[in-house]
């Protein structure tokens, strides 16, 4: 779930930031405005007439940038960043600019479909909505009667602002899961217990030093567009230094002042060694550590003594001198910040890596300062009332007894659990989720599960296109594309909180219905007269009405006009005007607006303090809740943790036998790799989003194939040149692809990006353009005749075994040991093979690292005094 999950009291932050942004620093205006405005309008290049502008929010990827759609003759012809949007500042990325092709995809599904052949055979019958809903309602009815938890809904992207969860709760089922375990969950889990939120918002524009661990912010990451605008600004205007740790030369690494090609999975060790040097040389911010964390400087120094640069250098391949130098640079350049994304996190013990990285800004006191490592700023909206209650019974799979700390669940293990009979499923829904392509094992695991009618008796896909998962469904309900839906939005993608929304910019195409309407219609079919008590939670006329129930009473927005304001502007609040001369948002005086810093130092009011008690450690408790922390006689709101300070020591982890202090665990199967073995890593293209954009012509045109990156030296050793076919073999299968041999990758790493190699997803993605377009009601695009490429790449997920971080629950995407050889005479480009049995072995293997597994103790000799799994099980219900 990338809906960033703030544990932080939203209200406290709102008060802290939204209201008082007038704190503009004095920076004189040097320039006259560019004589041309930066957007907000668009004209036809053929007849120079103005196009109709409708603000909305981008959803090509999940960063949620403010956008304007331009409509000409009823057609969306152009998308642009919303210049009134404080984060986006009028700009969209390559994908955002191509968003209309989600809508006008000639292979889009425009009416409900029912499978007629065997699952996955590709034979469909057009049915009416009524037929589709009736059949689904009937299956749901039977399933709920047996056990509501046999109805499962798994989503990938859910930007419905609560509708999806409302739906599954209305059915009484707790079997709901998202895709976060294949996404970045261990990053979130590495951070949350430490300081509250699950993400950081570095102040890139004002920093002097950025230490980037495995985030590809120039191409992907949360939040690519808004963040990299500020990174570019910081680097060019502020002369900030950017140092990037990545196993390969991403665009970010390639544009950094320094690229450090770390060995996969060892960022944690490097970060600890950096900390060691900082503490050894007394470069830490002792005052910050002693005031705001639950450890003392002395404790920290003691703990870090073990993590020497020599130790980290051996593991990571980063020279000792580099570690020493970077540590000094980072600690002595103020302000400085770190930034991480999936690089460190997507490994077995990824949560430890993340934690080790975030310790650097903490120990140097760069938290919540201008140019530093800041808390995210988000905003909340309301939920229509009444709301369905929590499901009566927990669901085994969603409650995952083996992974109690993995709050974002471990959904990539679901097929194995279902096959093992851990939980019976009668009806399975997918919503914007393509595990058959995006999860480890891909079709060998998820494809196998969906094809098996005994495991999944009835499968409904709510989708827009024939994705690899949707192609295996029994019934397809055609959703609207993002430009045709109503959805609430808020993302902490800059230092200013905002609320935005998505409104339909054209009428939905064909018979498509937007998500919340589909869900409502299912419920209404199931409970036509309200007698089952379900209908009352789905009481709205249409998408706009639902939106009004979410937005019309938000304080502040209400006064500005609620949904009507958003319809016009797309976002609220509007902090200022986009200045064409600087590309920044400026206030009335023409000066760039400044965010507020030091949110944790906001003081509690006397009213807040009435009835509050201050505990021994300073935590201020009120009505059983920590509301702040007392330091030097002052009452601060602190950080949104259980005791309102930064938990360097996470006691909860110790309960399960994990090291509560910053630590590092080398991936056991990386220890004794043979000479001819390498690590397979995957990554994202700047112009593709997960599985979704291979059908977008302008993006496929830029990137449509994905040869495997191999270092020149490795290539020489293996006798592999660019263009040669190579065989990449893991413990679960192999693939045959082309090699791209160059200097930009660690010699022990082979990298294959995702986004290519589709076998479904329409004619463009799978390059079956000879087939007739518009099979499911959409209009063809004559421009597809100009498609010239013949190579659509090879998808690697089939040969990547499951790995689950025992703490964060994350898939270890970047851990796979492979053998790379020149392809043999019988190998063909595009061959991919993997076996279900071998994937099951991998699953069993990874479960051994869970706190209940036999390898857990072996991996944690330092936790010898831990009482074992049974000591922790008693504590269950401790509330996560």
């Amino acid at each position: 779930m990338d809906m960033l999950n703030f544990k932080i009291s939203r209200r406290a932050f709102l008060q802290a930031s939204a209201a008082t942004t007038a704190a503009a620093a004095a920076s004189p205006r040097l320039l006259r405005a560019m004589e041309v405005e930066l957007g907000g309008k668009d004209f036809s290049p053929v007849n120079y007439t103005e196009r109709k502008a409708i603000p909305t929010t981008c959803h090509v990827c999940n960063i949620q940038d403010g956008a304007i759609a331009y409509v000409e003759n009823g057609r969306i012809v152009k998308l642009e960043g919303n210049p009134e949007h404080v984060s986006t500042r009028g700009r969209l990325c390559a994908k955002g600019n191509s968003g209309m092709w989600y809508t006008y995809n000639p292979d889009r599904i425009l009416y409900p479909l029912k499978r007629v052949g065997a699952r996955g055979e590709g034979k469909w019958k057009r049915i009416t909505w009524d037929e589709a809903l009736a059949e689904i309602a009937q299956k749901l009815d039977a399933a709920i009667k047996e056990d509501p938890n046999t109805v499962m809904l798994k989503w990938g992207r859910d930007r419905t602002g609560g509708a999806i969860v409302r739906f599954i709760k209305t059915l009484g089922s707790a079997t709901m899961m998202n895709h976060t375990s294949v996404c970045e969950s261990s990053k979130k889990i590495g951070m949350q217990p430490t300081w509250g939120p699950d993400i950081e918002t570095p102040d890139f524009a004002n920093t002097k030093y950025i230490l980037n661990f495995g985030s590809n912010v120039m191409e992907a990451a949360y939040f690519h567009n808004p963040y990299v605008q500020r990174v570019a600004e910081g680097m060019a205007d502020n002369k900030a230094k950017l140092v990037t740790f990545d196993v390969r030369l991403s665009n970010t690494a390639g544009r950094s002042d320094e690229w450090i090609p770390v060995f996969p999975g060892t960022d944690g060790a490097v970060a600890l060694a950096l900390g060691h040097v900082i503490l050894r040389d007394d470069l830490q911010d002792s005052d910050f550590i002693n005031t705001w964390t639950n450890v003392t400087v002395e404790e920290l120094k003691d703990h870090y003594r073990q993590f020497t640069p020599e130790w980290a250098s051996k593991l990571s391949g980063v020279p000792v001198e580099t570690i020493e130098r970077i540590a000094h640079e980072f600690a002595t350049t103020k302000p400085a910040t770190t930034y991480t994304y999936r690089g460190p996190a997507k490994h077995l013990y990824g949560a430890y890596n993340e934690k080790a990285c975030m310790m650097l800004p903490i120990m140097t006191g760069n938290i919540e300062v201008r140019g530093g490592y800041c808390l995210p700023r988000g905003m909340g909206y309301q939920q229509p009332q009444p709301e369905p209650p929590k499901p009566a019974k927990p669901s085994w799979m969603s409650d995952h007894p083996d992974y109690p700390l993995a709050e974002h669940k471990v959904a990539h293990l679901v097929p194995f659990w279902i096959a093992e009979g851990k939980q019976k499923i009668n009806v399975y829904f997918t919503y914007m989720d393509n595990p058959v392509y995006t999860n480890p094992g891909a079709q060998a695991v998820w494809g196998k599960m969906f094809r098996d009618e005994k495991l999944i008796p009835f499968y409904v896909s709510m989708s827009t296109v024939m994705g690899e998962e949707t192609a295996l469904a029994d019934i397809i309900l055609p959703d609207c594309m993002y430009l045709e839906r109503w959805e609430p939005e808020s993302m902490p993608n800059s230092l200013w909180p905002w609320l935005g929304f998505r409104q339909p910019v054209i009428k939905p195409l064909g018979e498509t219905r937007e998500t919340r309407i589909i869900l409502r219609d299912i419920i209404h079919k199931l409970d036509p007269d309200g007698s089952r008590g379900m209908k009352k939670y789905w009481n709205f006329k249409d998408g706009e009405d639902y939106m009004r129930q979410q937005f019309d009473n938000v304080p502040g927005l209400k006064e500005a006009g609620g949904v009507d304001f958003l319809k016009k502007h797309g976002v609220w609040p509007i902090y200022g005007k986009l200045d064409p001369a600087s590309g920044k948002i400026v206030d009335k005086t023409g000066r760039p607006i400044e965010p507020e810093y030091g949110l944790h130092k906001k003081e509690l009011s006397a009213a807040d303090m009435t009835g509050a008690v201050v505990e021994k450690n300073g935590t201020i408790m009120k009505n059983g809740k920590a509301i702040g922390v007392q330091r030097k006689g002052r009452n601060y709101v602190g950080f949104p943790t259980h005791d309102r300070i930064i938990n360097v020591r996470v006691d909860e982890w110790a309960e399960y036998g994990f090291n509560p202090m910053p630590t590092f665990k080398q991936i056991p199967w990386h220890k004794d790799m043979k000479d001819d073995e390498m690590i397979l890593t995957t990554y994202k293209f700047n112009v593709h989003v997960q599985s979704r954009t291979a059908s977008v012509k302008w993006l496929a045109e830029i990137a449509h194939s994905n040869p495997a990156w191999i270092n020149s030296e490795t290539g020489r050793k293996l006798g592999i040149k660019t263009g040669d076919l190579v065989r990449v073999e893991s413990k679960v299968g192999y693939l045959v692809t082309k090699a791209y041999v160059f200097e930009g990758i660690n010699p022990k790493v082979v990298a294959i990006p995702i986004g290519c190699g589709h076998w479904e997803y329409g004619r463009l993605a799978s390059l079956k353009l000879k087939e007739k377009g518009g099979a499911w009601g959409a209009q063809d695009d004559p421009d597809l005749k100009n498609v010239w490429w013949e190579d659509n790449g090879v998808h690697p997920n089939l040969i990547i075994p499951v790995v689950a971080d025992p703490i964060g629950g994350s898939q270890g995407w970047f851990d796979t040991v492979v053998k790379v050889t020149k392809a043999g005479p019988n190998d063909k480009y595009g061959d991919v093979q993997a076996s279900w049995e071998k994937h099951v072995d991998a699953f069993k293997e990874t479960m051994r690292y869970a706190y209940t597994g036999d390898l857990h103790r072996k991996m944690h000799p330092e936790m010898a005094s831990w009482g074992g799994p049974d000591s922790a099980r008693h504590k269950e219900g401790g509330g996560h």
Binding site: I702, A703, F742, W789
Partner: protein, 286 residues
């Protein structure tokens, strides 16, 4: 350019080099027909050379038009309101049209056996015919950013090429008719092939010693994609070999001359093709 998959097409495709070939022959043949009014040896060629010249002119026109992506708009070239005199193509278009008009008139005057007018038209037509290889050469050389094309030699090279190819075709037309004609045509071929050879050497030299783009073009034309056609067919087989052949005793016999003429024609086509394409290869990478 970089490691990226944005590709560019070459603006001028091989059709254009066929056009260069046919129009060059057409011009030279007209010239031969003209010569027949002044030099008796050429008398046997008067009609046949002209007719073939005319057919080739028609073919060239069609090639040129069909190579336009908007063939139906070819008349725009004659629209005085559109005419752009800085473009050699515009001049070329006018040249081509007037050559066509003179050819038609020449045809009728010849039929009427009006010697006086025919002679005048022949001279006028020949001047216009001379303009054709010159303008095609200009057409390339004005693009000063293109290696190989960007030499002032280009119009002269095209005139020489036109003469070689024209003489080669003429030697087929002449058949066994006249000993004297043979001697003349052999001389034509020899001298113009020699001139072509000399110009090619100078062209190769300046290309090889140019900037990086020039040097890379030299590499492509001598050892890369075009090496075989340019060096192999164009220079060795199609220029050097026939020169040697014509100098040898066998080359003075009819069979030898025919063989040399054939080689010169193949070579002429190969040279035009490689000069046209060669000037465009490197830039598709920029």
């Amino acid at each position: 350019m970089g490691d990226f998959n944005i590709f560019h097409h070459m603006p001028w495709s091989s059709t254009y080099s066929i056009y260069f070939f046919t129009i060059g022959i057409s011009a030279a043949l007209f010239f031969m027909s003209t010569l027949s009014w002044y030099r008796e040896e050429f008398r046997p060629l008067r009609a046949s050379a002209f007719y073939l010249s005319f057919v080739l002119l028609a073919i060239s026109g069609l090639l040129l038009i069909s190579d336009l992506s908007k063939p139906a708009r070819f008349l725009n070239i004659m629209n005085p309101a559109y005419l752009n005199f800085t473009s050699p193509l515009a001049w070329g278009g006018l040249n081509l049209l007037s050559f066509g008009a003179v050819s038609v008139a020449y045809f009728f005057m010849m039929r009427k056996n009006d010697e006086g007018t025919s002679r005048k038209l022949a001279v006028l037509g020949s001047l216009l015919a001379l303009g054709l290889p010159i303008y095609t050469g200009f057409d390339l050389t004005v693009h000063q950013n293109r290696p190989v094309w960007n030499t002032p030699l280009m119009p002269i090279l095209f005139v020489a090429l036109s003469l070689v190819s024209g003489a080669a075709v003429a030697s087929f037309l002449a058949g066994g008719k006249s000993e004297k004609l043979h001697v003349m045509l052999r001389r034509f071929m020899l001298w113009s092939a020699g001139a072509v050879g000399a110009m090619l050497i100078s062209l190769l030299g300046t290309t090889a010693y140019g900037g990086s783009g020039q040097e890379l073009t030299f590499m492509f034309m001598t050892s890369g994609a075009l090496g075989g056609i340019f060096i192999g067919v164009g220079i060795l087989l199609g220029t050097a070999a026939p020169i040697l052949l014509l100098l040898a005793p066998f080359g003075r016999q009819q069979g030898g001359m025919m063989l040399a003429a054939l080689l010169l024609l193949v070579g002429g086509m190969a040279l035009r093709y490689s000069i046209l394409v060669g000037g465009q290869i490197v830039q598709t990478y920029f």
